[in-house]
Amino acid sequence: MDNSLLVSLSQQLAAYRSMDVIANNLANISTPGFKRESAKFEEYITRVAPSEGQTGMQSVSFVKDAGVSRDLSQGNVQTTGAPFDFAINGNGYFVVQTPQGMRYTRDGHFTLDANGQVVNSDGYALQGDSGAITITPADTNVHVGQDGIISSTVNGLASQIGKLQVVDFANERTLVKEGANLYSTSQTPTTAANATIGQGMLESSNVQSVLEISHMIEVMRAYQATASLSQSQEDMIRQAVTRLGATPN
């Protein structure tokens, strides 16, 4: 097949990939703590034999996937009023204990379970400085400070329950998304230095609809342009076949 068709094909596959990433961003526009992603592509150059009238090796460049990069900027913080909704302002992640090990999340929606432990929507325990955090029925007015210190009032006296564990990583971008708003990594977490906690708030996703929709239109138009390019290539081949193959009478 002609190289131009193959180059077009590589671009069309890239457009499909971009569309998938945009669709996932828009689908997760209401997912707390979700970070938008964008597909990155790179040029792949091959050398081909010169065509008629050219000398030396010619280069043809295809497009290929380079990666999907995550935009780690802060999402808007929304007030919910729920006492166990926490938003992290700055860099950092909450730690939850799952059956597969420790997982990290920026989705700060937690509730209590039947034993009074602070858990996420899947029932995984949120980790404090000394393991899971338990709120007893005697604890009233549970308050979480900006530094993550959890305190309450027991029989009219102030009592300290623990401290939320907020961690950071040397390389945040290599955290692997696991779904269910969780990340996993083999990196060793360090205590987050510049993170503050907001109680009764949730961090919304940082997806910006205008950006995604305009990007989507761009991808769609690029796809259409390539498709019509392939179409004209095909027409050229067809014409060549009919003209050159026509038997002289």
Binding site: D20, I22, P137, T174, E178, A180, N181, E212, V219, M220
Partner: protein, 262 residues
């Protein structure tokens, strides 16, 4: 093409979101109703190239990797159990809870149910019942020739009977708490049931540590904030629209593809 199915998960999630908001708005004037919110999670990711994959023998690593998401799902709809405003009704059998706790009532099948809707009445036998005729637990009977009923903040029910100037104590209202009140199962009729997630009920007298107090002649309104709900409704509707635009765009791309072969 994955974009089609991803966008459809987005539309489904926003549909749930709108349904929850609609239910909140419909119950704006329901006594003791607690606002619900939907919580979303991203779906599994397909690892085309894992972040941190080695790209050469020299120990260079891919900084990003390629992970393609599969959309979004509704993880939970949860109740926001903040206090609702108290509204004065002057009805002696309207009791509002100020602070944590639920009234325990006996359902028609004999099992316990819990409610914060304190709009009680009397049964033909003079017992304190809910609007559906279910008994408030522990049972409280008001004597037939009662002139006035006083319920104090600690839930003690005193009745002044005709011919006797001294009020007599006829019962004591109790409140029930749960380790996780968001885990209670709502069955309609303002009634919540105990579940494995809520933990076991702990009864107490109103006003004791950890329990709210009761207020006679008041009702707790729903804690739904209309401005909040309408704003969420607009956001949800726009998000729904945008996901449908993705479907249109993906459809056009597919159409273009099939036309190429024409």
């Amino acid at each position: 093409m994955r974009a089609l199915s991803i966008a459809s998960t987005g539309m489904l999630a926003q549909q749930t979101n709108v349904e929850v908001i609609a239910n909140n708005l419909a119950n704006m004037n329901t006594t003791g109703f607690k606002q619900q919110r939907s919580e979303f999670q991203d779906l599994l990711y397909q690892n085309v190239m894992t972040p941190g994959a080695q790209t050469s023998d020299q120990g260079t690593f891919a900084p990003n990797g390629i992970q393609i998401g599969a959309g979004v799902k509704t993880a939970a709809t949860y109740r926001v159990t903040t206090q609702g405003d108290l509204t004065s009704t002057s009805n002696p059998y309207d009791v509002a809870i100020q602070g944590p706790g639920y009234f325990r009532i006996q359902q028609s099948d004999g099992t316990d149910g819990y409610t914060r809707a304190g709009n009680f009445s009397l049964s033909p036998q003079g017992q304190l019942v809910t609007q559906d005729g279910m008994l408030v637990q522990p049972g409280i009977a008001i004597p037939a020739n009662t002139i006035t009923v006083q319920i104090n903040a600690q839930g003690q029910v005193n009745a002044t009977v005709a011919g006797n100037a001294t009020p007599q104590t006829v019962g004591q209202l109790e409140l029930t708490r749960f380790p996780n009140e968001a885990g209670l199962n709502a069955i309609g009729g303002n009634i919540l049931l105990e579940t494995a997630a809520s933990g076991s009920p702990q009864a107490g007298v109103p006003g004791s540590p950890g329990y709210g107090t009761v207020q006679q002649g008041f009702l707790e309104t729903s804690n739904v904030n209309s401005v909040d709900e309408i704003t969420s409704l607009i956001t949800a509707q726009r998000a729904y629209e945008m996901n449908s635009k993705v479907i249109t765009a993906a459809d056009q791309m597919l159409q273009q593809t099939s036309q190429m072969a024409a």
